[in-house]
């Protein structure tokens, strides 16, 4: 390898496991140190648990308790999605108050999870200690660059923001850690426990809806709103500085703006959980669903979205299910359902030795079929896709948040020491005016979506309190489990799309396939040879780090990967495979690419 490096400047660099994410992820690259860019990238993951296998034959009412355990940071998103899925299967519509309580809980999850990930995990990639070790000149520049919004957030220089993000010692780092706790208190008020909720059920919630419950939430929420009025301008200053300090940083983690969002936060006045009404109530969600292709919204119809999902195997440790039973040939509206749709998927593991000529990974590859192409779409870590779909959808307008068709307005009311503020998230474009999906914009969107979630929670709070004040305190509706049903649930996990598909036969689970965001983002080269989003984004990444190979950290690559908010337990519940490329150290890349 050393010889190769001397000849060509191309060096293999592997990160396994990557820290400051959830779960175990490996990134395997070849880097051209002469050209300063990544030339090849493969992403891997390292556990197989088999949820879809051990859920078979279980009581459908256990599904949300079980699937919550898929993920240790957004398990409640799974529980929520599973409850939606069960509501459809059982034909039950929860009381409005129950839906407002779930929305308040899920909004708190967004506020918590994005906060801790952004400031305590991603933020470290932008802190003074890190930047000083990777790009000393950039830190020096930051130390003498005044922050444009210093008056809003209190840090005079960009370097001050970076120092405040230093792990443990940084003042803002520690404040954010505390905020991650108060937001989890908000979550626990509504859903009982974090991260696997105790009070969610099909048909509603067990939460006792007292005035005190909502007061306890509201007081914490308003402190968070106050906090976000500092955080949004602070991150704008920090991220804008990176573009200025390192011209061309737009290309780090950049890929075509192919993104998916399944929508989240149902409006109980419209959502009846019936499949035949799903196109309508999907468009009433407080975060709009949408498929974005090359920067343009191509559908926001949840039925279309559902029918377009395909699961490809590529080169994975599974047997195909082409010869297996089809569970659902037509959806309740009579539309044909593909064999590669989650409703019809069979998970048949076949662990094997890695062989780059045949099977070398546990990873499956979810794709969205647009009628012609299998889009290797990403979620951008969640927020950028949600804001993009919502902005272009033009459907959301509830006072605190308004979609304009090209941007999202977030209106935050007066707080204890700050006046009301409006933030506007605009669809990002590069200098040529082309849609821009890259590391910095994924990270920036995360901060804006924290404000969005807080604004939405203010609305839910008003609605919930109105129910309580009117004496409508019922939070659960009884139901019966049918002998047979086909159902689905859609929401947004913190880091992106989440779907659950269930088939009930003889009153038991016959098939259950959850698809969280990480299989979309961390998927590998599929059966058509298309790389997954991490791989694609990293392969296009230029290297700005000043270190040479022997003390190289790979900070630009890590920023690209972390911008997707990797959450590997979500990826691997059915399979993201392990170190498929570990042998590549001894294997010519060409051979791998040929598979």
């Amino acid at each position: 390898m050393t010889t190769a490096a001397e000849d060509t400047g191309i060096v293999e660099m592997n990160w396994d496991p990557i820290t400051r994410i959830v779960g175990s992820l490996g990134i395997y690259t070849k880097i051209d140190f002469k050209q300063k860019k990544v030339v090849e990238c493969y992403s891997t993951s390292s556990i197989f648990r088999g949820y879809s296998i051990f859920m078979k034959g279980k009581d459908p009412r256990d599904a949300h308790f079980i699937t919550s355990r898929i993920c240790g940071i957004c398990g409640d998103n799974h529980a929520t999605c599973s409850v939606y899925n069960q509501n459809m299967a059982y034909g039950v519509r929860p009381p409005h108050l129950a839906e407002w309580i779930i929305n308040l809980g899920e909004a708190a999850e967004y506020m918590f999870d994005h906060n801790i990930f952004q400031e305590n995990l991603v933020g470290v990639d932008f802190c003074a200690k890190m930047v000083g070790e990777t790009n000393p000149g950039v830190l020096e520049l930051a130390n003498r660059t005044e922050a444009p919004h210093a008056g809003d957030h209190g840090y005079k220089y960009i370097g001050d923001i970076m120092r405040s993000l230093n792990p443990l010692e940084g003042e803002f780092y520690r404040e954010a850690l505390q905020v991650s706790r108060s937001t989890r208190e908000m979550f626990c008020l509504m859903e009982g426990r974090h991260v696997h909720p105790s009070t969610l059920y099909p048909g509603g919630v067990g939460t006792t809806p007292t005035v005190q419950l909502f007061t306890d939430y509201l007081t914490r929420l308003m402190r968070y709103v106050e906090f976000m009025k500092r955080v949004v301008p602070m991150h704008d200053d920090l991220f804008d500085f990176f573009y200025e300090a390192m011209p061309g940083y737009e290309e780090v983690g950049r890929r075509r703006a192919d993104m998916v969002c399944w929508g989240s936060l149902n409006d109980p006045e419209h959502c009846d959980f019936r499949y035949d009404h799903m196109s309508d109530w999907g468009r009433k969600m407080f975060v709009s669903p949408g498929v974005i292709r090359d920067g343009q919204l191509i559908t926001n119809d949840l039925v279309d979205i559902n029918l377009g999902i395909r699961i490809l195997l590529g080169s994975s440790y599974y047997e195909d299910w082409e010869d297996q039973e089809m569970f659902v040939s037509r959806d309740p509206l009579g539309n044909p359902v593909d064999r590669r749709h989650p409703w019809n998927q069979h998970t048949i593991p076949r662990p094997a030795k890695r062989d780059f000529d045949s099977k070398y990974s546990w990873v499956m590859s979810p794709r969205w079929f647009d009628g012609t192409n299998y889009l290797a779409a990403d979620t951008g870590g969640g927020p950028i896709a949600r804001l993009w779909a919502t902005a272009q959808g033009g459907l959301v307008d509830f006072g605190y948040v308004k979609s304009t068709g090209h941007s999202v307005l977030i209106n935050l009311p007066r707080t204890i020491s700050r006046p009301e503020v409006t933030f506007e998230w605009k669809i990002p474009v590069d200098k040529a005016g082309l849609p821009l999906s890259n590391a910095i914009e994924r990270d920036r969107a995360r901060t804006y979506f924290q404000a969005y979630a807080a604004a939405a929670a203010l609305h839910f709070m008003e609605k919930a309190l109105a129910e309580v004040r009117a004496g409508h305190t019922k939070t659960w509706e009884p139901f019966d489990v049918p002998d047979e049903a086909n159902s689905c649930g859609f929401t947004e996990a913190v880091r992106g799309v989440l779907s659950h598909h269930m088939v009930i036969r003889d009153g038991k689970i016959a098939n259950y396939h959850p698809y969280p965001p990480t299989p979309w983002n961390a998927s590998v080269r599929d059966s058509y040879g298309t790389p997954g989003p991490y791989e694609d984004a990293v392969q296009n990444t230029p290297i700005f780090e000043e270190n040479q190979p022997d003390n190289f950290k790979g900070i630009d690559i890590m920023r690209a990967v972390r911008s997707f908010d990797p959450c590997l337990p979500c990826g691997v519940h059915m399979s993201l495979g392990n170190g498929k490329l570990l042998e590549k150290i001894h294997t010519p890349m060409a051979a791998i690419l040929a598979t």
């Binding site: 293999e12 660099m13 396994d16 496991p17 820290t19 400051r20 175990s24 390292s46 556990i47 197989f48 088999g50 296998i53 051990f54 279980k58 009581d59 256990d62 308790f65 079980i66 355990r69 993920c71 940071i73 129950a98 305590n120 995990l121 470290v124 792990p167 443990l168 010692e169 520690r174 989890r184 208190e185 979550f187 626990c188 009982g192 426990r193 974090h194 991260v195 696997h196 105790s198 009070t199 067990g206 939460t207 006792t208 809806p209 306890d216 593991p349 076949r350 662990p351 030795k353 659960w476 003390n551 190289f552 950290k553 790979g554 890590m558 337990p569 170190g579 570990l582 042998e583 001894h586």
Partner: protein
């Protein structure tokens, strides 16, 4: 988290009078990282208070924790995180506490491939499986802490019909296992573990390693006795309804949830008393049935979760027999709920009921 200079300059720290205790956190089992995430929620004490030595008498520590570690360099460059594990394997870190998160799959039930790994084996270029790490590091660890119900007893991923043959750390190393310092495996169950239950146990172990606390008191399932000595029911503020024979028949009611699937009377857990985070939230105390997630028999012995537990019906119809009912449930517990299903064990056979496809 690789706090500060401690981790950057191990040699210097080790040569100082005060010993440096390393904490190696392995999240490479079959888990969800929920216990790592829970630890960030702890406030009594918080992780930053432990890491920065904010409590009296704490030894100097260096935490190697994937979730928030500063270090994240490539294998071939600077700050390679996994290098700490290799150092421990080579006997270069002493003392260290090994924290295990996630259940241990049975890698012996198949001819080839792997269920889970954590970094690579430099000798083979293959992934280092979680069980191989345990084999290598267990003899060298001063203490092993199993965090969360997956690591302690197998948990969700070890339920009937699972394909991986997952089990808990005591199933894998043996329930009678002792560290070189004479400590049993310390189990902090919970799905996920209660944040403060975990941080408090870490604190206790650090005091013990520093010679300031006696042997940690554990019960027969290796749980700290002061945290798991009482039942959910004993700490639940809805117990008064139980006593009065007032039982909820619909979720959302403030009354006792036993008829709706709550296993509180037989489950060892302090959550209703402690709340979930800073006293907020919990399970039956806030309207969530107890599904027994701290118990060795979880989840199989308590499913379907939303059905009444055996004996609850008696309590509903004849609440004056309260004491009798509790004793009936307790008897059931002693026999089954506090025991794991039989299939969670080592060996070459998969006993979970799943028909192998390989």
């Amino acid at each position: 988290m690789a706090t500060a200079e401690q981790t950057n300059d191990t040699t210097q720290a080790e040569s100082a009078a005060e010993p440096l205790v390393h904490i190696l956190w392995m999240n490479g089992g079959l888990g969800c990282d929920g216990d790592s995430v829970a630890l960030t929620a702890a406030t009594q004490p918080s992780i930053e208070e432990i890491a920065l030595g904010a409590l009296p008498g704490l030894p100097k520590i260096a935490v190697h924790w994937p979730l928030i570690d500063f270090e994240c360099g490539p294998e071939q460059g600077a700050d390679n995180f996994i290098e700490w594990w290799h150092k421990a394997d080579r006997g270069e870190l002493d003392p260290f506490v090994l924290v295990v998160e996630g259940s241990i799959p049975n890698e012996a039930i198949k001819e080839e491939g792997y269920w889970c790994g954590f970094g690579n084996n430099p000798a083979t270029g293959q992934p280092m499986t979680t069980s191989e790490w345990l084999d290598r590091l267990a003899p060298k660890a001063t203490a092993i802490l199993a965090a969360g119900t997956c690591a302690t007893y197998g948990g969700i991923h070890a339920m009937a019909g699972n394909p991986t043959g997952a089990m808990g750390v005591p199933d894998y190393l043996g329930w009678e296992w002792r560290s070189k310092a004479g400590l049993p495996i310390v189990c902090v169950p919970g799905c996920p573990t209660h944040p403060d239950n975990l941080s408090e146990t870490i604190l206790y172990l650090l005091y013990q390693v520093a010679g300031q606390a006696p042997m940690i008191p554990l019960d027969e399932a290796l749980r700290p006795t002061w945290l798991f000595g009482a039942t959910v029911h004993e700490g639940c503020d809805r117990g008064g309804y139980y006593e009065q024979g007032e039982f909820a028949t619909e979720y959302g009611s403030p009354k006792c949830l036993v008829k709706l699937g709550c296993w509180g009377p037989v489950v060892k857990c302090n959550v209703p008393k402690r709340g979930w985070i800073n006293g907020v939230g919990g399970c039956p105390n806030v309207g969530g049935i107890c599904i027994a997630c701290t118990m060795p028999g979880f989840p199989d012995k308590f499913m379907p979760f939303m059905d009444e537990p055996p004996g609850a019906r008696v309590s509903a119809t004849a609440s004056t027999l309260y004491g009798t009912v509790i004793r009936t449930l307790r008897g059931f517990t002693a026999k089954t709920a506090d025991e794991e299903p039989k299939w969670r064990q080592k060996g070459n056979d998969l006993l979970t009921g799943y028909q192998k496809t390989w």
